[in-house]
């Protein structure tokens, strides 16, 4: 099995602010990983750094063995689209939806990458199977949907891409507990095959027992978890 994601010595931040400090993380194919941390400890920054959206970063990030990190000090988002085309899907915290476009447009835009575009019909069927409520909303502009529905659209858009690595940033944020449970369950239903999924979450109880590994993120450093499938848990815990 190859490593879907391999992060080595990643530091990232915005301007004078260093948010992540020397992060090491390996994600294997077929794994679902939960990253648990409080607000402001760098969960979203980690996701953004993988997508190339932070102010600056350095260190190595390898997606399916291809380097997508490196040292970069400006132009947040300049390479994001290329990283996305290599098989990354980020479902960000703020949803980053297109408020004037319909749900159907969103699903199509999710399948923007060339390969996914060709099979977007089948993929749409598949995604609607995971999020059945979207079936009725296909013609609606997203600006008029509720928070939970928007989150579903955001996740569905990410799933359309046929990505190897799914990054889900705070799926429960701003949702009622019941709905957020439903969202997490839907995430667990997704067939990741030879890909992997990383979920950042504040609420430990939502993910406990459902994911392959749980890792804590505290003050920009990964703690209290196993950062690589090969390293036993207590060793990393001792190291920090």
């Amino acid at each position: 099995m190859t490593d879907v994601l391999r992060i080595e010595n990643l530091s990232a931040g915005y301007g004078p602010l260093g948010v992540l400090h020397n992060i090491n993380l390996t994600v294997r194919a077929g794994e679902r990983i939960g990253i648990i941390g409080l607000n402001g400890h760098g969960k979203s920054t980690l996701m953004k750094a993988i997508a190339g959206l932070t102010g600056w970063q350095n260190g190595s990030i390898k997606l399916n063995g291809i380097e997508i990190g490196g040292t970069r000090s400006q132009g947040p988002g300049r390479y994001t689209h290329k990283i996305v085309r290599m098989g990354l899907a980020l479902m960000p915290q703020g949803d980053a939806l297109f408020h004037g476009l319909t749900v159907a447009d969103h699903l199509d835009s999710g399948a923007y990458t060339k390969r996914a575009w060709r099979e977007r019909k089948q993929r749409r069927e598949y995604v609607l199977g995971i999020f059945p409520p979207l079936q009725k909303l296909l013609g609606q502009p997203v600006g008029k949907l509720s928070g939970g529905e928007r989150r579903m659209v955001s996740l569905a858009r990410g799933l359309m891409a046929d990505a190897k690595l799914l990054l889900v940033d705070e799926p429960s944020l701003g949702l009622a507990p019941k709905i957020s449970k439903g969202v997490v369950e839907a995430l667990m239903k997704i067939d990741i095959r030879d890909g992997a999924m990383v979920i950042a979450e504040q609420n430990l109880s939502l993910l406990e027992g459902k994911v392959t590994r749980l890792i804590g993120l505290h003050a920009g450093k990964l703690k209290g978890g196993s950062v690589s499938p090969d390293v036993p848990l207590h060793e990393t815990a001792h190291h920090h």
Binding site: G13, G15, P16, L17, G18, H21, N58, G220
Partner: protein, 509 residues
């Protein structure tokens, strides 16, 4: 669309501003001086004693008034004295366009209304006064007096949409309004469509005067106009209206409103005042050129004006004047090239806007920002601080000495860690009571310096038979605690045990 506001002199944390120092006392007497009718001191002079030589020193904290005075002094005599006729005429143009740009800066910078109709306002003033002079025989002084009225009326007309529109919508609209004026003037017979301009207005240069003298009078009149424009800028931007508007920059209007500032009214006031002033410049234009030409309304002329303020830096008077100087100089020096010189000017404008954030006068700020960014990123990358305190934490610590001590300690430990080796530990074991090597002495000196709290000590359980290592509590009445279960037979062994423990602590810290 934020126009940079004038910055007050301030020191950047972590970097000392370099200000040239003058010798001697007497700075304080400057504090008694005031600009007339204001409470502003002309110069901020700091008097101090040099820390090293104890000599008295004066520092001018805001050098801009000095530079302005020098520049205006040069402008007041140099062009008529050294230049030929065409040079004086170009200088006149420079002074007049500087005045226009300085007043325009009030609209863009102070009021924050991105109006591109400044030249159109001048044109309205020029055409209005020229019309009155040609058809009703107004003398030049009456034209000067009436010009602001035309500007004000036109200003009121174009201020109506400014109340509702924001940013770019208004900028686009004003471009359209200028074009509307041009088309109207070209098609209107009374405004001289046939003659391509309305000429024959009264001038302020007495008839029959030799050409050079006439041009010099024209230059001085334009120079006075520039001074008036600068005074107006100062009076608006530096006084109440300017202060109110500085509290309400774009996107932060709500805060100002919460403070009770009626920023809309202040904006419109500034806009109308500058419109009236531009109308006045229009009146001056008509008396200088004995009329008005529709080129005042053309897009190219407007773009040239925009090039001036963009090159100098939008938002400051010195930027407006310097930009005007550069563009008029270019215009004058390369006059033989024809349209190519406009291409050159446009090229400079493009380069400026592509590479500079705030024109030429923004270069120092941009450079400082770039350097600060690089530095802060480098700092952000150092994730291991090694016990040192980073500058951003330092502001929270009252005792600055402790910062230095921590930094010294951290570096000392770093250094000493490099000295530790198995050979050194062996040397310590074998050389008890003898002379020791320099590295070992260094390490031992550091260990001996440690504070009493948690310091290791040796407890003689049975003299000459059983020794153990304890750690002192550092508090009176609290007994030392035993560190581990190692038992040493001799004091020398125990001393070495303490040393090894210390070394371990050093390596782990």
């Amino acid at each position: 669309m934020t126009a940079p506001t004038e910055s007050t002199p301030q020191a950047i944390v972590g970097r000392r501003r370099i200000v040239p120092a003058l010798r001697g006392h007497g700075g304080a007497s400057w504090h008694r001086w005031r600009y007339p009718l204001t409470r502003r001191t002309p110069l901020l002079i700091e008097t101090d004693y040099n820390r090293t030589t104890l000599a008295a020193e004066r520092r001018i904290l805001n050098p801009r008034p000095v530079l302005w005075t020098v520049a205006l002094l040069i402008l007041s005599f140099a062009p008529p004295l050294f230049g030929d006729n065409s040079f004086v005429a170009a200088s006149t143009n420079f002074a007049m366009y500087s005045a226009i740009n300085v007043i325009w800066m009030l609209t863009i910078g102070t009021a924050g209304i991105f109006s591109l109709a400044s030249l159109a306002t001048v044109g309205v003033g020029a055409f209005g006064t020229a019309y009155l002079s040609v058809y009703f025989g107004f003398p030049f002084w009456a034209m000067w007096l009436v010009g602001p009225l035309f500007g004000l009326v036109f200003g009121i007309f174009i201020a109506v949409p400014a109340i509702r529109l924001e940013g770019f919508y208004y900028a686009l609209l004003t471009v359209g309004i200028a074009e509307l004026c041009r088309v109207y003037v070209i098609q209107s017979k009374t405004l001289g469509a046939a003659a391509y301009g309305l000429f024959g207005a009264d001038g302020f240069v007495p008839k029959g005067m030799p050409e050079h003298e006439g041009l010099v009078i024209g230059y001085y009149a334009a120079f006075v106009l520039l001074l008036l424009a600068l005074t107006l800028y100062r009076a608006i931007n530096g006084q109440r209206l300017g202060r109110l508007l500085r509290a309400a920059p774009e996107k932060h209007e709500a805060f100002a409103e919460a403070l009770g500032i009626n920023y809309r009214l202040a904006r419109i006031q500034v806009f109308l005042i500058s419109s009236a002033a531009l109308g006045g410049v229009g009146g001056f234009y008509a008396t200088l050129l004995h009329g008005a030409s529709p080129s005042l309304f053309t897009m190219d002329q407007l773009l040239l004006l925009l090039a001036m303020i963009v090159i100098g830096g939008i938002g400051t008077t010195e930027g407006a004047v310097l930009g005007t100087l550069i563009v008029t100089l270019f215009d004058k020096v390369f006059i033989d090239l024809g349209p190519v010189r406009l291409i050159l000017i446009a090229g400079i404008m493009l380069i400026t806007v592509l590479f500079l954030r705030g024109g030429i006068f923004g270069i120092p700020d941009q450079f400082a920002a770039w350097r600060a960014k690089r530095q802060s990123e480098r700092r952000g990358l150092q994730s291991g601080k090694g016990g040192e305190i980073m500058p951003e934490d330092a502001i929270e610590i009252a005792d600055k000495q402790s910062i230095a001590v921590r930094r010294f300690d951290a570096r000392l430990k770093e250094e000493l860690r490099g000295l530790i080796s198995d050979a050194l530990i062996e040397e310590h074991r074998t050389t008890h009571g003898k002379r020791r090597s320099d590295p070992l002495e260094r390490v031992l000196t550091f260990f001996r310096r440690q504070a009493v709290a948690d310091k290791y000590a040796i407890l003689a359980v049975k003299a000459f038979a059983e020794y153990r290592i304890v750690a002192l509590s550092g508090r009176r009445g609290v007994p030392p605690r035993v560190v581990d279960d190692q038992v040493f037979a001799t004091p020398e062994d125990a001393l070495h045990g303490v040393f090894v423990k210390r070394v371990q602590d050093l390596m782990e810290s």
